[in-house]
């Protein structure tokens, strides 16, 4: 569980996060949504420790990040898996080397054990014939799957995904969404996803945090988002006719 309490963050006098508090629950896919500039990425990067909030606390199962010493912070980071928007695979390494990287860095496993684990997670993300390929030789969807495999290879307790569907076709996007959800449940991970994609919200949003102008404007589940009267959520989520109709159909049922 990740608990965020009253987190504030500014850049050059411009307050981006204005006191956000929420809880990201274990074993659930927690989604952060909101318009561009609402503070989603800053919140995600604050959770990852890339940005340091000016006030407030972020605690990982009771461990308050700002109170940890550098070694404890690095230790905690080994419990984190991250899927970046652009996948962030290491260009000079093959798919198998990318996936095995956290194991080579942080475990004492020998090569055959690492290889075994790499094979297992690549199979888990349905990639069995790309081991020796370079990231530049595979498609965007495959790169995302490799990024997910690398994020989960070390059995993380926390999984963060920044726009995991961006640039993917609708079919692949659904596959990636479902994969993340399955992995979250299977390994009982606290998963936080930063997304613009309303399909993801409808598909896998077990807990949704809606940000507006650096503030928490609404939070709830995907079922609740259909029923909410919150004007900001309605204006954002149901701005397209398709989702308006989906909502109407859901409420009718």
């Amino acid at each position: 569980m990740i608990e965020v309490k009253n987190v504030e963050k500014s850049f050059g006098g411009n307050k981006i996060l204005k006191g956000i508090s929420t809880v990201f629950e274990t074993g659930k896919t927690n989604l952060i949504i909101g318009q561009s500039g609402s503070g989603k990425t800053v919140l995600l990067k604050s959770l990852l420790g890339i940005h340091t909030p000016e006030s407030g606390t972020i605690s990982f199962d009771g461990r308050i990040y700002s109170e940890l010493n550098p070694d404890e912070k690095r230790e905690l980071r080994t419990e984190i898996g991250m899927v970046f928007q652009g996948s962030a695979l290491f260009d000079s390494m093959t798919v198998a080397e990318n996936v095995g990287f956290p194991l080579r860095m942080f475990t004492k496993d020998n090569n055959s054990k690492i290889q075994e684990r790499v094979d297992f997670v690549l199979k888990r993300v349905n990639l069995t014939d790309a081991h020796k390929k370079l990231p530049s030789e595979i498609s965007g969807g495959m790169q995302k799957r490799v990024a997910i495999a690398r994020a989960i290879v070390n059995n993380p307790k926390y999984l963060f995904c920044d726009e995991p569907n961006s640039g993917l076709d609708p079919n692949t996007a659904i596959l990636i969404d479902n994969l993340i959800k399955e992995i979250t449940e299977e390994y009982n991970i606290t998963t936080v996803i930063n997304t613009h994609d309303m399909n993801s919200v409808m598909e896998i949003g077990e807990k949704i945090l809606f940000l507006k102008d650096g503030l928490k404007a609404w939070e709830g589940s995907k079922e609740e988002i259909f029923r909410t009267d919150n004007e900001a959520v309605v204006a954002f989520v149901y701005s397209s006719n398709l989702f308006k109709k989906v909502r109407e159909a859901y409420l009718k049922d």
């Binding site: 070694d71 080994t78 962030a88 260009d91």
Partner: protein
């Protein structure tokens, strides 16, 4: 402006401190070091050999053409070539060229990793990204004096060939000149300079790549800025070290 420069210099020294914090596992690091030796040292052998050989030849020809007085002995061609190559050409001139070759490679490769979030990925995993990326380059460049040693040898060889086969001097005269008044400390001086330049070559381009912001265009810009600053720093340190080591 001045404050910005001072801030950057402070940031550079903080980066140096961070490079040596939290070391990467040796089993991983040793492969990175071998890769950097291959990229930075072995990969530069060809260009260093080519430039050294021909510039050594040009130095010999220029010296010969300027010795118009018949009273000046021809062995000075060998002497002047040796002194120019060992004292300045090999350690300093080659380092400025390497600021372009190695420096832009280092800045653009680290800068691209920054732009594509690969450095963020390392940090999020709990890897000390500065140690992972820059430390192997520093260790690999400890072999830089080996490259400069080759440049010295080929520079003098190029001078000998141009001098002898160009008909400017005889082989004996050139070799006599090249051995005349040889001061072994000059070699030590050249290698001290080389080691300090190696440190600058590894760290200044890394600094510009690591802290760059923006996209592909900024990677190109960072490479140019890194080349300028590495060259300026090398020239500045060349002056300071020459004054300190040979001036007294």
């Amino acid at each position: 402006m001045l404050i910005r420069y001072i801030t950057q210099i402070g940031r550079y020294f903080l980066m140096l401190k961070e490079i040596f914090n939290k070391q990467t596992k040796w089993s991983v690091m040793k492969n990175l070091i071998f890769k950097e030796i291959d990229d930075l040292i072995i990969g530069s052998l060809g260009i260093v050999a080519f430039i050294s050989f021909f510039v050594g030849g040009v130095v010999a020809i220029q010296t010969a053409l300027n010795l118009t007085n018949p009273l000046i002995p021809k062995y000075l061609i060998g002497f002047a070539t040796r002194q120019s190559v060992i004292l300045e050409f090999a350690p300093t001139f080659i380092s400025v060229i390497m600021a372009g070759k190695m420096g832009s490679f280092i800045t653009s490769s680290i800068g691209t990793m920054r732009v594509t979030e690969q450095i963020d990925a390392l940090e999020v995993m709990g890897v000390n990204s500065l140690n992972y990326l820059v430390f192997p380059k520093i260790i690999a460049l400890l072999l830089y004096p080996f490259l400069i040693g080759i440049a010295m040898f080929l520079g003098v060889l190029g001078g000998w060939m141009a001098g002898v086969y160009g008909g400017f001097t005889s082989s004996d005269e050139f070799i006599n000149g090249a051995q005349m008044d040889f001061i072994p400390f000059h070699i030590i001086y050249a290698f001290i300079k080389t080691l300090i330049f190696a440190m600058l070559l590894a760290t200044i381009p890394s600094f510009h790549g690591y802290y760059m912001k923006g996209g592909a265009l900024e990677v190109g810009r960072a490479s140019t800025v890194s080349f300028v600053w590495t060259s300026v720093t090398i020239i500045l340190f060349n002056y300071i070290l020459t004054q300190l080591l040979l001036g007294s």
